[in-house]
């Protein structure tokens, strides 16, 4: 590159210019190019980060749309008894409902039957006969989520607010199809998970017991089947705890002087212990005497010699007192 025009103190120095090859401008322009590229990269990174946040925002909003759909379905279902559910005759499919700024579609149908759980406690919830599977596809702008719930209706509850308890909740891949058959498929998969949990429960329970009984790290290792690594040979041994695990307790500064043996138990002293409710006669005197004259007693409901339930002992601390029942009929005074 050569200069075509150069002025020094008002005079044109053509000869000089003709002999010169300018390097500074080249460097400046090269630097400019580098800076431009750098700027573009920066701008790209910055807007990319912003787009990422926008994607996350849209995803969260899509989840919100899905949960709003769930709320609408549950609210509708909670006003009906199970026998009056609108999808009794078959799956109910609703598509592209505008809700909470997005769109949602759902399928609701009776749950795939789950075999009875061997655990009587789990069987009360997961093997309940009155269950429905709800599959929702929620869309907010360009973000879509698919969500699956298994709903349990507790019709035999004293809860005056009819409630529906979600027994299971999961996301599914976004490319899933929203259809009754797919819902059934997921329901069966959920059943498999629940079955697997039933199978695993005894194992985890026994492991939990063993872990609770372990008094030292060494015992814990053997309970968990942990094989300690081979001792390192290239360093100098620590005289206080050669194996690094079963040595003396760490200095006070590290643990506050607490060892597993001296850890205080979790105190629930702050919880209000529930006092005993006052006892009351279940039958008015006139009725009691009329029933008694028929040869029956109030403790013989159904003539089957049911167990009586006492007025309760509620205030005892430490568990095990709840549900205390004596055998005296417990029918009050």
């Amino acid at each position: 590159m050569s200069y075509t025009f150069f002025v020094t103190r008002g005079r044109t120095r053509t000869r000089f210019i003709e002999n010169k090859v300018g390097g500074a401008m080249m460097m400046v322009l090269a630097l400019l190019l580098v800076l431009l590229a750098f700027g573009l990269i920066l701008k790209g990174l910055s807007s990319s980060a912003y787009r990422e946040v926008d994607v996350i925002n849209q995803h969260l909003r899509a989840v919100s749309v899905g949960e709003s759909t769930f709320a609408q379905v549950v609210s509708r279902l909670s006003t009906l008894s199970w026998s009056e559910r609108w999808f009794k005759g078959g799956a109910d499919f609703q598509a592209d409902m505008p809700i909470a700024g997005g769109y949602a579609s759902y399928v609701i149908q009776d749950a795939a039957r789950h075999p009875a759980s061997p655990d009587p406690l789990s069987s009360q919830v997961f093997s309940h006969g009155e269950q429905a599977d709800l599959y929702v596809r929620a869309t907010y702008r360009r973000s879509t989520v698919l969500m699956f719930w298994r709903l349990t209706m507790t019709e035999d509850s004293l809860d005056m607010m009819a409630r529906i308890v979600p027994a299971c909740y999961t996301f599914t891949p976004q490319d899933g199809t929203l259809s009754p058959s797919q819902t059934t498929l997921i329901g069966q998969r959920v059943n498999a998970w629940l079955g697997e949990r039933d199978v695993n429960r005894p194992i985890t329970q026994s492991l939990l017991l063993a872990v609770k009984r372990a008094a030292s790290a060494t015992q814990l290792q053997s309970v968990l089947g942990f094989t300690p690594p081979a001792p390192v040979l290239d360093g100098s041994p620590t005289p206080e705890s050669p194996d690094g695990m079963s040595g003396s307790a760490p200095p006070v500064g590290a643990s506050g002087g607490l060892t597993p043996a001296t850890l205080p138990s979790f105190s629930r002293a702050q919880l209000p212990l529930l006092p005993s409710p006052p006892s009351v006669s279940p039958l008015p005197p006139a009725i009691a005497s009329a029933v008694a004259s028929s040869g029956r007693s109030v403790s013989e409901f159904g003539g089957r010699g049911t167990r009586g339930h006492s007025t309760t002992t509620i205030s005892a601390r430490g568990g095990g007192s709840g549900g205390d029942e004596d055998e005296d009929g417990g029918d009050g005074d």
Partner: protein, 498 residues
């Protein structure tokens, strides 16, 4: 690299010479800076303008590029601000969704509290939604009880990030097109951005509103099916006929009253055995429970079982109340044609009276079991899970107060006051629940007025009013018949399994 600096000696001799190093580098680009170093006033520094021009161009080019840095910073700040606002809204939405499950007073509380809809500061406990934040200490927050603080200066980074944020929630009940209601929630977050301008983020969502569901005994939900069961239970020899065919002479309504009592009561009697077996099983499990959590689950399941039995009893009583009243005033067994066995009527009257006692026992046992769960040590048990047992106990005691009695809310008040003391500052929603409930249980009248299922209370009153005259009258009229359930022509199990 050694620097070669050249100087022009005179206008006629423009060949550069080395000044400092003696290294001549005529092709070097650094020649262009030579004008700057001209020491002599007589020297002609023609390249100064070149360099100045270059720097000018460079400066002009750098200006927008450099402006990217603060722009990127502003964008990052804006992104961060939006993220913070979104996090606040998501947190509140999740908490309100949980609260909607657990607190029946949520919708009312949001609509009554004027602070909810005002744009109040998030920090220093201004907004009611951020008066207490958990996770005060890492990791997982304090294990010891005590009031959690708001977002204050003691949490400097969080305080700095959120000090300009204001938050409000607007709620509106909405009836669904077919059945039910939902609560539309609209969140708004306001904050000052990097240029001290107002920014806003809004989000809407929906949470469920629970409504009262009246439990009709399932055996009488279908009249046709119920009629078939009545014939099967009371007239097994005429099972080929329908109930309207049997009672075409005007006794149909009376027979339906009596028949409903039979088919509602018999399954209850049957299920009593089932419940007893379950309770026995849970008791044996409790004695061998391997962990506190298991014991907690067992107590909770026991409570659930007793509650289900109490629910069946109260539903049956409420449903039977009108039938009982009609039976007490109008039903004369002598006028029934064809006549059902008198002993059947007698048995049903007795069972109807005994169901009240059974209801009382089931309710008391449910309260006992739920309180046992709540009072159990349950090491490692989540407080929210544990609090659910408390809420169930409260529901049971409320129903007991309004039905069996005694009509005294002192017990309820003491429970709620203790619960409020624990949850105040720890869990806002349980604290709110306890606060509202404490207002409801000031007296039996206020409790009755706030009870959601008024039809249940009305049914209970009817049942009680009809019970004594009805049972006494029936026992009087059927005095000769011996009381035994074996005369009923059908087993309870066959009724429940149909």
């Amino acid at each position: 690299m050694r620097m070669a600096v050249t100087v022009t000696r005179s206008p006629s001799d423009l060949r550069p010479q080395t000044l400092l190093t003696g290294v001549r580098s005529p092709e070097s680009g650094l020649e262009s800076v030579r004008g700057l170093l001209c020491q002599s006033p007589g020297m002609k520094g023609f390249s100064l303008l070149e360099v100045v021009l270059a720097f000018l161009i460079l400066g002009l080019a750098l200006a927008p590029i450099l402006s990217l840095f603060p722009s990127a910073g502003k964008q990052a700040r804006q992104t961060s601000d939006v993220g913070q606002a979104l996090a606040l809204q998501e947190r509140t939405a999740e908490e309100l969704r949980v609260a909607a499950w657990e607190n029946p007073h949520l919708a009312r509380g949001l609509s009554l509290d004027p602070q909810c809809s005002q744009d109040l500061p998030v920090v220093d406990g201004g907004s009611p939604f951020f008066r207490a934040v958990e996770n005060d200490l890492a990791p997982g927050g304090p294990l010891v009880p005590g009031p959690d603080s708001s977002i204050n200066a003691q949490k400097p980074s969080l305080y700095r990030a959120l000090r300009t944020y204001r938050f409000s929630v607007r709620s509106q009940m909405r009836a669904l097109p077919t059945t039910g209601q939902v609560l539309d929630l609209s969140f708004r977050t306001l904050w000052k951005d990097f240029a001290n301008r107002d920014s806003t983020l809004e989000m809407t969502t929906v949470v469920p509103v629970y409504s009262v569901r009246q439990g009709t005994p399932w055996v009488v939900k279908s009249r046709e099916r119920a009629d078939r069961l009545i014939v099967k239970a009371c007239y097994p020899s005429r099972s080929g006929l329908s109930l309207p065919q049997l009672f075409s002479s005007g006794n149909l309504a009376a027979m339906r009253d009596l028949g409903d009592m039979v088919i509602v009561m018999l399954p209850l009697v049957y299920w009593t055995s089932y419940y007893d077996a379950q309770v026995s099983q849970f008791e044996s499990m409790a004695t061998t429970a391997s962990s506190d959590i298991d014991l907690f689950r067992i107590r909770l399941a026991q409570g659930r079982l007793h509650e289900a039995r109490a629910a069946a009893c109260v539903n049956a009583m409420v449903y039977l109340a009108p039938a009982l009243q009609r039976m007490a005033t109008a039903l004369d067994p002598a006028t029934l044609n064809p006549k059902p066995p008198l002993v059947l009527i007698r048995n049903m009257a007795i069972e109807t009276a005994l169901i009240r006692a059974e209801f009382h026992r089931a309710l008391t046992a449910a309260v006992s079991a739920y309180c046992g769960a709540y009072n159990s040590p349950g090491a490692g048990q989540l407080t929210r899970v544990q609090a659910r047992a408390f809420l169930r106990a409260i529901d049971c005691i409320k129903l007991q107060t309004l039905t069996i009695g005694p009509e005294d809310t002192t017990f309820l008040k003491s429970m709620l006051v203790g619960f409020l003391a624990v949850e105040e500052g720890r869990d806002q929603y349980y604290a709110d629940y306890a606060r509202v409930e404490s207002e409801h249980v000031l007296s039996t009248n206020s409790l009755r007025a706030s009870f959601p299922n008024q039809s249940l209370i009305k049914g209970w009153k009817l049942y009680n009013a009809a019970l004594e005259p009805g049972v006494t009258e029936v026992l009087h009229r059927t005095a000769g018949a011996s009381s035994s359930s074996s005369v009923v022509g059908v087993s309870p199990a066959s009724l429940t399994t149909e």
